[in-house]
Amino acid sequence: MRTRTVRVDYLARVEGEGAFHIKVKDNRVVDSKFRIFEPPRFFEAFLRGRRFEEAPDITARICGICPIAYQSSSVQAMEEICGVKVAGPLRDLRRLIYCGEWIESHVLHVYMLHLPDFLGYEDAIRLAKDHPDAVKRGLRLKKLGNDLVRVLGGREIHPINMRVGGFYRTPSRKEFETFLPELEWAREAALETIRLVSHLEFPKFERDYEFVSLRHGDEYPMNEGRLVSNKGLDIPLSEYFDHFEERHVSHSNALQSVLKARGAYHVGPLARYNLNFDRLFPSVQQAARDAGLAETCRNPFQSIIVRSVETLQAVEEAVRIIEGYQPPETPAVRVQPREGVGHGCTEAPRGICFHRYRIDSKGIIRDARIIPPTSQNQVTIEEDLLDLVSTKLALPQEKLTWLCEQAIRNYDPCISCATHFLKLTVEQVT
């Protein structure tokens, strides 16, 4: 018996700590495990007993990259329970701050975390030496995203300005005007980004995924919609737990989410794009076509193109909102707690972020469930690696490892929402 092991101490360029183990026997992959060993963080447990208004500030702490997703899903759920509808400029501002989060998160991933994989660099630092202009473009775009989050959120990491019913403070028109010239630049920069990544070389790899995302009547999904899939799912948020369940597996500290009927599913940019191409702005659709992207994309390695397309969408949306912005009369609508159960689901950059809360008549949270996007993609990541390694066993160890890491990064896993450092092991038993 001969054992061949490929090991990476930790996978860089992901948020968090985890491990991957692939077992190969008689030239066949017999097991693939995505291990998440960051200790559980018990957010759902310590939300119980807190007031309903505290949910956006507590859940924003789950993630330093996508706090807006957690805030947005939690306020949506609380507003549903309390019978409040946030509309008009306040709703636009919620969408605008989400644009900021998409831009900063997508651009960080495209330029700093994923692009080095495609161009054969170990990291963005080595990439920057040969391609300084591309990296500078990425940094400037990311700063624009950060600035949008800061002006609306009060600060860029763990923002504090969103509340149930609206915001604590809303910016003046003047505060936004300075953004327009930079957004004009960003439109071109996003187009340039799409062109850059569309010319990369992509491994030939497609799977018959079940894509799950939000779908809204007339908007590209971000902060509202029904849950739909390409295999017939079309439900209101309230039916989430009728169709999805979380499983605890011994090799991971993060629960794995699956569809009860069909198992693994895929959330994130590819899912949103495939299910909502018709909701992209026409100019963004055209940019996608120009990049050679069909209306459906099943190759997860091409998620880097879709992230760039979504960056352009977020820039266009930010321009639209800022140009039409009239400050609301009050920064928030009045919210009175009442007993009930509410659901919130919004599109974090890496996929749907689902929340359900039950509060009592005094506004105390009695129960909380939070399903982060990375826990929903876990099983799909395991299956991708299983398929990928099965077809690439002839590759030398180093190339196989590189490809596996790249494949994991296709999902922009925010393991911090669920975990830290990723260790990759391919064990070959013959």
Binding site: Y10, A12, R13, V14, E15, G16, E17, R41, G64, E104, L108, M112, L113, D123, A124, I125, R126, A128, K129, P132, V135, K136, L139, K142, K143, N146, E156, I157, S416, H420, F421
Partner: protein, 173 residues
């Protein structure tokens, strides 16, 4: 207003045990820093850090590190003269943090003339944990050393890169 010549960045998360030390030191230094020295707290997010030091002549970064040394060990690095060792990468949960920000700035030719890094080896980084005794003591040494450095500096700062627990040799050149 043009940026001050010297910027001190206290990096970390005050709610994650020893990761708080950079932020706590920044607060102490802000009370004592002379005019012309700007002191800021920072989460450690890399792109944001790179923005912070644009236009400054000298930057002093104070941060907790996790490199395998005994807790409380003080790592002094003159990042303007040498690359940050790879063991200092990934000390935070950010995919892109202090060490990467320094090295990326260097690659892009955007690093200030002087970049000094004080890294204090942490023991405990769990959410809600307090500061460990070793890190508190290490922090006290760094506080005095940085004060001596900025009070004595005459346009140029330098530390001799070394690792240890005791008082370092703040110097000017």
């Amino acid at each position: 207003m043009p940026p001050s010549a010297v910027l001190i960045l206290g990096v970390g998360n005050e709610w994650r045990g020893d990761d708080a030390i950079g932020v706590l030191l920044a607060r102490r230094l802000r009370e004592r820093a002379p005019p012309g020295v700007e002191v800021k707290e920072h989460s450690g997010e890399g792109a944001g850090l790179m923005e912070e030091w644009v236009g400054h002549d000298a930057v002093i970064i104070l941060d907790a590190v996790r490199s395998g040394s005994p807790p409380g060990t003080i790592h002094r690095l003159d990042a303007s003269r040498e690359a940050i060792p790879s063991r200092f990468f990934h000390a935070s949960s950010h995919a892109f943090s202090v060490a990467e920000a320094v090295e990326l700035s260097r690659a892009l030719g955007a690093l200030p003339e002087v970049v000094l890094l004080y890294g204090i080896e942490g023991r405990e980084f769990a959410a809600g944990a307090g500061l460990s005794e070793e890190v508190r003591m290490g922090g006290a040494v760094v506080l005095e050393e940085v004060m001596a450095l900025i009070e004595s500096h005459a346009g140029r700062l330098a530390v001799k890169s070394r690792t240890g627990t005791g008082t370092g040799s703040a110097s000017r050149s």
